[in-house]
Symmetry: C2
Subunit: 319 residues, 2 copies
């Protein structure tokens, strides 16, 4: 796969990957290849096939090349760790920053359990409380100004500790720990397997949604970590499930069901970035109802023999 740089040189920013893919080469079910999009961020040339194929989980065609939008490496970058009294306050701080329009390169939430797992697994000494890990980037003066605004918004939202990390090594250590949080969480529960799920809600709804999930977990004595890309409204629940005890998986699925039900009630979605696969087919039908028939029509059009990742996203046979 080739990632072509259309305007700058660096990695992709936070936000939906769907907005970052500019073009594709796709091999269709009949073996022919098409190209979609281009090397441009704006186009109104026919139907947006790029958007249709991205996130289709291999069910419509095989992506063999993609053109990504990349962003310049900022002149100056600062990472921030901020500690809050509870999950609702932490997520509320993220929502406040989004509402204020402060440009974030990254914004990651982790609950106390996630931070504790990361500390133990990577030998870090982060405060084991609900936290936001944020990255700001840009010109030095601009980043300095944003940092002041960020701190004021966080403190208004109840931030009790606000620490910055300006060295590349320090930032890399922090982000490596975040990116490998799933591994850290699982390492604290030997013999268990990981079951994770994610939803997205409007950013302003994240604080209440995460609080509800946290409360449900505590009410039922379930050990699960909450973390996510909360500036996008997207959060994950990571359960550690004993494969010998099916009731643990059933319990996790009940929490997932409640999460999705709530997400849909506030205009959210049953899957933020994990896709539908097999496990969320029922939720997709619940979320979109008759629009699923349109999806099925497109699937049958592009894969009449059902050879492309069969059984994913859509039932093999309509209900």
């Amino acid at each position: 796969m080739a990632a072509t740089n259309a305007s700058g040189t660096t990695a992709v920013r936070h936000g939906s990957m769907r907005d970052q893919v500019l073009g594709l080469e796709i091999v269709l079910a009949d073996g022919s290849a098409i190209r979609t999009g281009g090397r441009v961020v704006k186009s109104s040339a026919g139907y947006n096939l790029t958007g249709l194929f991205v996130g289709s989980e291999g069910t419509l065609g095989v992506i063999t090349e993609l053109v990504l939008r990349v962003h310049p490496v900022p002149e100056h970058t600062v990472a921030v760790s901020a500690v809050f009294g509870d999950v609702e306050a932490a997520c509320g701080a993220a929502a406040a920053v989004v509402a204020a329009g402060v440009a974030l390169q990254r914004c990651e939430f982790a609950d106390a359990l996630t931070v504790a797992c990361v500390n133990r697994h990577f030998g870090l000494r982060l405060v084991e409380a609900p936290s936001l890990f944020v990255e700001l980037g840009g010109g030095r003066a601009s980043v300095d100004a944003d940092l002041v605004a960020l701190r004021a918004l966080f403190e208004d939202a109840g931030c009790s500790r606000f620490a910055t990390e300006t060295t590349t090594e320090g930032r890399n250590r922090l982000w490596a720990a975040r990116h490998r949080a799933g591994e850290a969480i699982l390492a604290t529960a030997p013999g268990k397997i990981k079951k994770s799920t994610d939803v997205t809600v409007p950013v302003s709804e994240v604080p209440a949604a995460v609080r509800r999930t946290r409360e449900q977990l505590e009410r039922n004595g379930i050990t699960a970590a909450l973390l996510g890309h909360v500036a996008d409204g997207n959060y994950h629940t990571v359960f550690m499930v004993d494969p010998e005890h099916p009731e643990e998986l059933a319990q996790a699925k009940r929490v997932e069901a409640a999460q999705i039900e709530h997400a849909l009630s506030v205009g959210g979605t049953c899957s933020g970035e994990h896709g539908i696969g097999i496990g969320k087919i029922g939720y997709l039908e619940h979320q979109y109802g008759p629009a699923v028939a349109v999806m099925r029509g497109i699937k049958e059009l592009l894969d009449p023999n059902g050879i492309l990742n069969p059984g994913k996203i859509l039932r093999s046979e309509p209900v």
Copy 2:
């Protein structure tokens, strides 16, 4: 139509409208209605039907409601007028700012003819030379810092005059003139009609693309204005055509053809935001070849009787 505010309160920023639509209600050809997307910026729930319908020019369904992503009203806003020696320098300055990652609320290019028409029609006194009109917004300190960076980048690119406009009235006057530039251009050519076309190229290719078009116009003695959203790579050519002289329209079409040919050769697109309609059907086929058959399949799936805006985007009968 209802525009639902998902996280803040204000207008849509520059960039592709496709990234700003979060969800739709659509009435299909059979009279049934579906909903796509939601009130979220990130989703991986099935096929991205929102992206498919946005920009489909009414050929797949009728959009009856849409949810837009909006952005907070910035605490502080500054508009900038910057004057350059030639069109290539002006567009090069815009590309440099994009490459440096300075966040722009708006970035509009206008050539000398456009500025002259706007001056005459609205009684303004802008310098009649290739210009960029830019808007920065955010916290005051952050905007001040970005302004310094912007000025340095512009001056490096040959900016000879850099003026700021901080009052709301002054900014509104400037943007009103820009938004009504088409009207101003036409007013200078009584009895003529407007023929406009647009392409998008990678941002780094805009300076050369605009220079090529400017040179072609001058070589052939054609009066046409160049302007556009160059930070998105998107620029427009506005011809004033005498309906009594078909050769003028033919001449405009030759310039358009050269523009599109060049745009496609550098990974661009034959239409940035004007769509395909009838006039660009041949260019769409040239740009995408076999992908147009996929578009046609989707059209036939969703509009089997061809009742939705027939003849647009795709030929009524395949070639």
